[in-house]
Amino acid sequence: MKILNRLHWVDWLILALITGFALYIWLQIAGTLNYKWRWHLIPNYIVGWHTKREEWFANVLLQGLMVTIRITLYASILALVLGIGLGLARTSRNMTVRLLARTYVEFLRNIPPLVVIFIFFFFLSVPMIDALGLERWARAIARSENNQIWIFFFGDMRLFPQLVAGTVVLALFESAFVGEIVRAGIQSVDKGQREAARSIGMTYMQEMRYVILPQAVKKVIPPLANQFITLIKDSSIVSLISVQELTFKTLELVASTRLIFEAWLVCAGFYFIICFGLSQLFARLEK
């Protein structure tokens, strides 16, 4: 085999070390911790069989994955809207507007994500959900008959308030990064373009809409795609505000079944497949 001939002795040494380390971990788990692997239980927690209704249903892990995907998607859309506003504000000619936007961005960039999430949750999400009476409204829909569309978009409606809280919190968190990408995109457009737009009498809004943003869009799409992937991973922190996404569901599963290693490995696998798959896809689309 060609590949074997190409391996240097250093490569062999590295391989040996890695194998040794893996073996050591394995023995630790099996021996010292006296861990019994029960992989056969895992598939059931992804897709379960409903014995009474005689049909397959998405069990905890898949449910969690669906929530992760939903929340990332909705938060991204919301963050895009907020981020474009923020990017425009960051490049505004008005100093107060620039300063406010800058403050917001710096606030988010210099506080740990976890702390940001809690602050947004308690200061914004909770009061908002209360004020809108989302809890009662969602429960009513959950009990109603024709709720398929709602379920398709939002999953279990009883958990709708948490979904909204998670989405809002993530979107606010993410908007700062989207805003910075948008700002960089706007600033990458040659300043001659603005001057040309102004010299034919365009207003600031027209200049942005017809000249600057169409050119900035091309430059911001690749970094935005990357940011979307990052958000899938970052979305796991909203498990801390009881949003029942993949990480939260895994935690629950581990607590109730003690399938510690299996569950976490599957959880990691899910994240990996989605993020790696998407990054490959985006890389291909870019060409």
Partner: protein, 247 residues
């Protein structure tokens, strides 16, 4: 000049931070007049004509262009710019739009004429700059000379009363300079009011009603082209002409 000036600058001062870019500068441009401005690099030529369409603002003095007083924060700036076109050294065409779209966007979005009218106007001016067959190309597919002619047509499509040129041929390969200058000569012959920063002295001699020489933020010399090229009064102007003419 007996006509009322369309540009009237009185004692303009302009600073970039500490740097005094325009020093107590006054000039009038009459309707239909062609003024050519020249001077060494950094003398403030661009700064001056960019004040005329409010891409820059002066800090003291008074500037009235086409009956509109120019000052930062004026809400008539948009109206002013619709009447004062500008052609840049680097063309600054919109790269994401075709040539035709480049010409139509101003009339469509700013002057709000109908699409049919905008297209008719665009095609008329493309004809006038001698590239009627390039309408559907993108700017990057054109030569520099063609791009600059599109930029001139874009200005014309706004039906401006005044066109400002900031070294329109400086970024061009030598063999393309004349196709652009020819278009500008034709414009001049049609009676357009033009203020043109250029070092193309042959062109200046042909079209200028008045030559202006700037140095160090000041207007040093103003003269008709004949006097300007044969008997410049100031030392600085003589030195400058020496350099550009025997080049």
């Amino acid at each position: 000049m007996t006509k009322t000036p369309v540009i009237s600058a009185r004692n303009l001062d302009k600073f970039y931070g500490e740097f005094h870019a325009l020093k107590n500068l006054s000039i009038d441009v009459a309707e239909g007049e062609r003024v050519v401005i020249c001077g060494p690099s950094g003398s403030g030529k661009s700064t001056l004509i960019r004040c005329f369409n409010a891409l820059e603002y002066h800090q003291s003095g008074q500037l009235i262009v086409d009956g509109i007083e120019v000052y930062e924060g004026s809400n008539e700036i948009i109206r002013l710019r619709q009447n004062v076109g500008m052609v840049f050294q680097q063309f600054n065409l919109f790269p994401h739009l075709t040539v035709l779209e480049n010409l139509m966007i101003g009339p469509l979005k700013v002057r709000r004429v109908s699409k049919a009218d905008a297209e008719a106007t665009a095609r008329r001016y493309l004809d006038r700059v001698h590239i009627p067959d390039q309408a559907d190309k993108y700017p990057r597919q054109l030569s520099g000379g063609q791009q600059q002619r599109v930029a001139i047509a874009r200005s014309l499509c706004m039906e401006s009363k005044i066109i400002l040129f900031d070294e329109p041929t400086s970024a061009l390969d030598p063999e393309m300079i004349n196709e652009v200058l020819d278009v500008m000569v034709e414009l001049a012959e049609d009676g357009m009011t033009m203020v043109c920063v250029t070092h193309e002295m042959g062109f200046a001699r042909k079209i200028a009603d008045r030559m202006v020489f700037m140095d160090d933020g000041e207007i040093v010399e103003v003269a008709d082209p004949e006097t300007f090229f044969t008997a410049p009064r100031s030392e600085r102007c003589r030195d400058f002409l020496e350099k550009v003419l025997h080049h």
